[in-house]
């Protein structure tokens, strides 16, 4: 190093974009670069340029077949995404879908079938048989067995579409959706307007899996003031693959 003549590029301060792509940064330095990549388009462009320069080094890495379960996991997480992409805008206009439903679990199942069937032509892989996945959903029933809402999870577990089957009224109280992990306390997901299908997004939904319970309680406008249900639980259901 000392015996080579100093050239201008050696004295230039190095662009952190280069170090970021090479991977040598850690801790705060890497975090800073990651933030800058989001905020600064010029920095991002330099990152992309460096990725282009260094990518050929990856030629040397030997390919290794991932196990078959790797694709199954991916397919499970994205199957309903095809459904969502294709159907979401229409779903919200489709108020009549939930009006068709009358009462009982059969009706709720019918709603789900309509949703799934409507989805299929636009997104062939959305059918459970094609990709080994299915929609995580539940009918939320009142203690007497009457279906009040149908809830369909978004595939990435960051949102849920709630379709009211019956209008719920309570004196100055409104339905609030909760998620209850096995052995855990209810976490608030969001308020539900009684009149139309509604997508509620919440990080709380990331814990959703089969058999996780969704419940609805009646709460003051704006939701439970305590973070735990304060009003009566009017409906609940356990998520299942449909």
């Amino acid at each position: 190093m000392s015996d080579s003549p100093v050239t201008p590029e050696e004295t230039d301060p190095i662009d952190p974009a280069a170090e970021y792509v090479l991977g040598v940064l850690e801790g705060e330095a890497r975090d800073r670069a990651a933030e800058k990549a989001v905020e600064d388009p010029a920095f991002r462009a330099r990152i992309e340029a460096w990725q282009g320069r260094l990518a050929p080094l990856l030629e040397d890495v030997a390919p290794v077949n991932p196990p078959p379960r790797a694709w199954r996991r991916i397919a499970r997480s994205l199957t309903p995404a095809a459904a969502q992409v294709a159907v979401k805008p229409k779903l919200l206009d489709r108020v009549e879908v939930w009006r068709w439903a009358t009462a009982g679990l059969a009706a709720a199942t019918a709603v789900l079938c309509v949703l799934v069937l409507r989805t299929t032509p636009a997104a062939p892989l959305a059918s459970p048989s094609a990709a080994g996945g299915s929609v995580l959903a539940t009918a939320l029933t009142a203690p007497g067995g009457r279906v009040l809402f149908v809830a369909v999870m978004d595939p990435l577990r960051d949102g849920v579409t709630v379709i009211p089957v019956h209008t719920v009224t309570g004196a100055g109280r409104y339905p609030e959706l909760w998620i209850i992990p096995a052995g855990g306390l209810p976490k608030p997901v969001g308020m539900i307007k009684a009149a139309s299908p509604l997508r509620v997004s919440s990080r709380a939904l990331s814990i959703a899996e089969e058999r996780t319970v969704l419940a609805i309680s009646l709460e003051p406008p704006g939701g439970s003031p305590t973070g735990a249900p304060t009003g009566p639980v009017i409906a609940s259901g356990s998520l299942a693959r449909s």
């Binding site: 190093m1 991977g23 850690e26 990725q51 320069r53 990856l58 196990p67 995404a81 997104a123 892989l125």
Partner: protein, 184 residues
Amino acid sequence: MDPVAQEEELRRALARVARGDAPALKAVYDRTSAKLFGICLRILGERSEAEDVLQEVYLSVWRSSARFDAARGSPIAWLAAIAHHRSIDRLRTRGARKSEPVDAALGVVDGALSALAGLEAAERAKRLNHCVGELDTLQQDAIRSAFLDGFTYDQLALRAGVPLGTMKSWIRRSLAKLKSCMDR
């Protein structure tokens, strides 16, 4: 199939993925997952973590593949860069380096892209190899270890038995030389 046709097919599949076509994602996966899994495994050295990251990579492609700019370059190089980036992220979050050696390749699916494909990619690879070859041996090794094994500055310095400042200056000079050589 020749690499150029393979790359073209991959571009078309990615365009379909961007329109929400899930079977197209499977087509992309079939052609690229062995290469990407190899990269994740090389950096992370641990199968279950490599599988996690592989899943992240394809889900990120599923959600944002519209961002693949077909004019910008080779799609497999783009995917490889995502796999590399996410593996390093995972490694840094974990805070420790892999401990186990990685198994050798276990046979690859037919039709999989093992090279980064495409004439332009081949040209770039040739160029990079030439430019890396112009560095001193120790610096070549540091650049490769950083990029392919996920070593930090500290780890590289320890491994080469040089002070941290020396390693930083080797890497920074090497990057500057690579840039000027490759952009020439």
